[in-house]
Symmetry: C2
């Protein structure tokens, strides 16, 4: 986990923050939030909130009271040594891209398969800068949809020792994920003490949570796993064509979702999610990585801090581009840098995302990791002291001299600068003689080499068997219920 | 000129700033700076500095005394209405790439010609976000080197009305530039009142200024044009393999160069330049856009502010990539964003730079401008108020609704989001049907369309004739002297 030591960038003045607060408070109290779930409505009613049909009109101060129960830090368990993730105000964890139905590799776009999923999990395992694969980096089309979550959770439990996410899209997936994680970590009580799974709970924006997501939220919160309440707002579609208005909406949705988690399970680990971007108003297609995405990120981090919440940035690594070209690189960095500058505690979609999230791309995965490595090196305070000032090097070289052969240089030349995986400083002739490859092509060669480094992390045979038994027991039940 | 309204990012603690100060002070006083220019040495001697052969060992406090004479703000004259550039702590001006011997266009790399130079000047003229073409965006190989500066200065004087730079590489070029600018602006006295030219004066790092650059500095300073003192330090070659040490060296070189300008011409407009990047320690080739470049930029801005100086960032838009690919886009943004975050007042090489500066690329030019437009929109405070909160839009759409057809949306859909020049949100099928073009190819189409918008800015016929006469008078003299 990266430690953020630079002060966050602030896009909102105090008066803008106060206006935003008035905005979300008015939304939750006057228009209210729709919860398509009888049990949830009943809980809010009992807690003294006004419920009109399936809409809850909140007392905003009550919402804040619940929000204040959220822990300011917690640890997300990984089963490998040193893989647990510290969530705290100054920590940043990075997650691979998620939920892509398609894969892109060597210029071909095709349906994702379980082999792709495995490859991406293995890449995440070998890349130190990636803290978690999340859950479905891609959605394998060659696995039955009813039982897919069992196969993927089994693969995650056995083939990586980093923490990962629950099958968060429905309560059955969440329950199975928790049961399997309990096998790995030594029981439900251990998980309750400190979580091993996180789950992204999306609002069905605007101003609505649907029943299935709410059931997932309840299952996760009751098991005290990490609930990441994330409105997904494409302005012009699920939000007004105003960043300010969509941020107020996002805050209203996120805080009420978090209030629910705290109502159900006070002190449960939660993260405020954000995902504000725009729709192309000519075509209706979503757009990622432009100014609206970046502004949304920078402001969201500030809002989360305002309410003392840990924050998940929409991305890191977002783009609407179809290939790993200049647009993809620009848009990805133009979401990744704001995630850093605004101090995201969980950065989703860090590596691999292409085509507005429809594609997990192998080359992009590596290019994004290169970017992440660079940013983790550069966005840290620079220490200047007598040692780094290296006065002796200047004494040695003098006026107009050359440092290449200096003793100070020779002692340090292997480690003194960042050594890229994919990027190159080759001059034109050398680059041409090496095949005149663009970055995307070089990344293609690199991921195939890197995945060779993968070794399965050790796992107790008894646990492995118990997991397999669980899956085989559950599989026919799920098929029968489908 | 862009107005920076966000607080700058600070990479250096107070103790690091103090250590850096100790560092440059020790360099200028103990090792000293070499000035290969008898007249300059004499001036320093007269000012009470210790001169040993051609090395000046400075009293650091005297250097700071001179530095404090530099104006905190000034205006750089453009001849067109609204084209003058305000230089001030919170303003940012953006300059095209400079001095590329080669051009890249539609995948072909070739020698630059005067037609390319003209094209880039025209593009700079029609692109609002670019404030100045500087001087030689590319170096036309089809113009005689002895008289090239006359042709280029004539072209700049007549075909753009934005401010530009002097032919800064030697004193003759500077003198001719000043004489021609005086024709445009109404005389040398007008120029002395408020400058119309800037000139980049490079140190011959480490710790040396050569005679030719010093002569240029003297000519510019005596005419009270803007002197941009810029050490160019590739760590491992012209500086130690330590960012801290190279920053101390950069500060030593820049401050003593600025002290000279202030000694010669107190109150003369000056800008502290910075250009710290690294050498690839395997090949010796320069590298731009990695963590070292970004750290160098972020720290340099903070150092300039420390000494109350306006600051020129090395770039904006730097890359070692050979093509406008993902590496180019990453590295460019990874220097442009630090230039924004550290508050550069003059950003050089904003558009077009490729191949570590050897290539001016048409496609990259447009891609960089797209990036610049986006950053100028996003790195501003976000105003949240009752109007932008648009409560009525939420009342209109309600829970789970769709904003695309809402009245609030329909009133704003044309202007509500950034509309890109080159980037696209096209889905896969549409993108494929449109020719499956990567960003570089789309940029190629776009620059050819954009340059059609160019119109020559009006210029008084008498001035035009006087400029032409000057050039025809000077040309044979320069050829005879060559």
């Amino acid at each position: 986990v990266f430690e953020r030591r630079l002060a966050p960038l602030e896009l909102l003045s105090e008066s803008s923050l106060l206006a935003l607060e008035r905005g979300w408070m008015r939304l939750v109290s006057e228009i209210g939030i729709q919860f398509q779930h009888e049990g949830v409505l009943e809980r809010f009613r009992k807690a003294g909130q006004r419920v009109e049909e399936d809409v809850v009109k909140f007392d905003p101060e009550w919402v804040l009271e619940q929000v204040r129960k959220a822990p300011g830090s917690f640890e997300l368990r990984g089963r490998g040594e040193g893989t647990s993730l510290q969530f705290a105000a100054d920590r940043m964890a990075f997650c691979a891209c998620q939920s892509a139905p398609f894969v892109r590799d060597a210029g071909v776009r095709r349906n994702a398969t379980v082999d792709d999923f495995r490859n991406f999990v293995h890449l995440t395992q070998v890349i130190d800068e990636l803290d978690t694969p999340g859950y479905p980096i891609c959605e394998p089309a060659d696995l039955d949809v009813e039982t897919r979550h069992l196969d993927l959770q089994l693969l995650l439990a056995t083939e990586t020792d980093k923490p990962y996410a629950a099958a968060q899209f429905d309560p059955v997936g969440c329950s199975d994920s928790i049961a399997m994680s309990a096998i790995v970590h030594g029981g439900l009580d251990v998980l309750r003490e400190s979580p091993a799974l996180f789950g992204v709970i999306n609002a069905n924006s605007p101003l609505r949570f649907d029943g299935r997501m709410l059931d997932s939220l309840l299952v996760l919160a009751e098991a005290r796993q990490v609930v990441v309440v994330t409105p997904f707002i494409l302005m012009g579609a699920m939000g007004p064509v105003s960043v300010a208005a969509s941020l107020a909406q996002q805050t209203a949705e996120a805080l009420t979702g978090i209030a629910l988690a705290q109502l159900v399970s006070p002190g449960c680990p939660v993260v405020m999610g954000s995902f504000v971007s725009h729709s192309n108003m000519q075509s209706g297609s979503p757009g990622f990585g432009g100014p609206e995405s970046a502004i949304g990120l920078l402001a969201s981090g500030q809002i989360a801090r305002r309410y003392g919440l840990l924050w998940r940035s929409g991305g890191g690594g977002l783009t609407s581009s179809q290939t790993s070209d200049a647009q993809a690189a620009f848009e990805s960095l133009n979401t990744m840098l704001p995630a850093f500058l605004a101090g995201a505690n969980l950065v989703m979609h860090t590596a691999g995302w292409l085509d507005s999230g429809l594609v997990a791309c192998y080359e992009k995965f590596l290019l994004d990791v290169e970017a992440l490595r660079i940013l983790q090196l550069e966005l840290v305070p620079l220490e200047i002291n007598d040692e780094t000032l290296a006065f002796g090097a200047h004494e040695e070289v003098g006026h107009g001299g050359y440092f290449f052969g200096a003793a100070h240089t020779l002692e340090r030349f292997r480690e003194c600068f960042y050594r890229p995986m994919i990027f190159t400083t080759d001059g034109f002739d050398r680059w041409r003689n090496n095949g005149a490859m663009e970055a995307e092509a070089r990344a293609g060669a690199r991921w195939r080499a890197l995945i060779e480094d993968y070794e399965a992390p050790p796992l107790d045979d008894a646990i492995r068997e118990e997991l397999a038994e669980y899956v085989e027991r559950r599989r026919p039940v799920l098929i029968a219920n489908a």
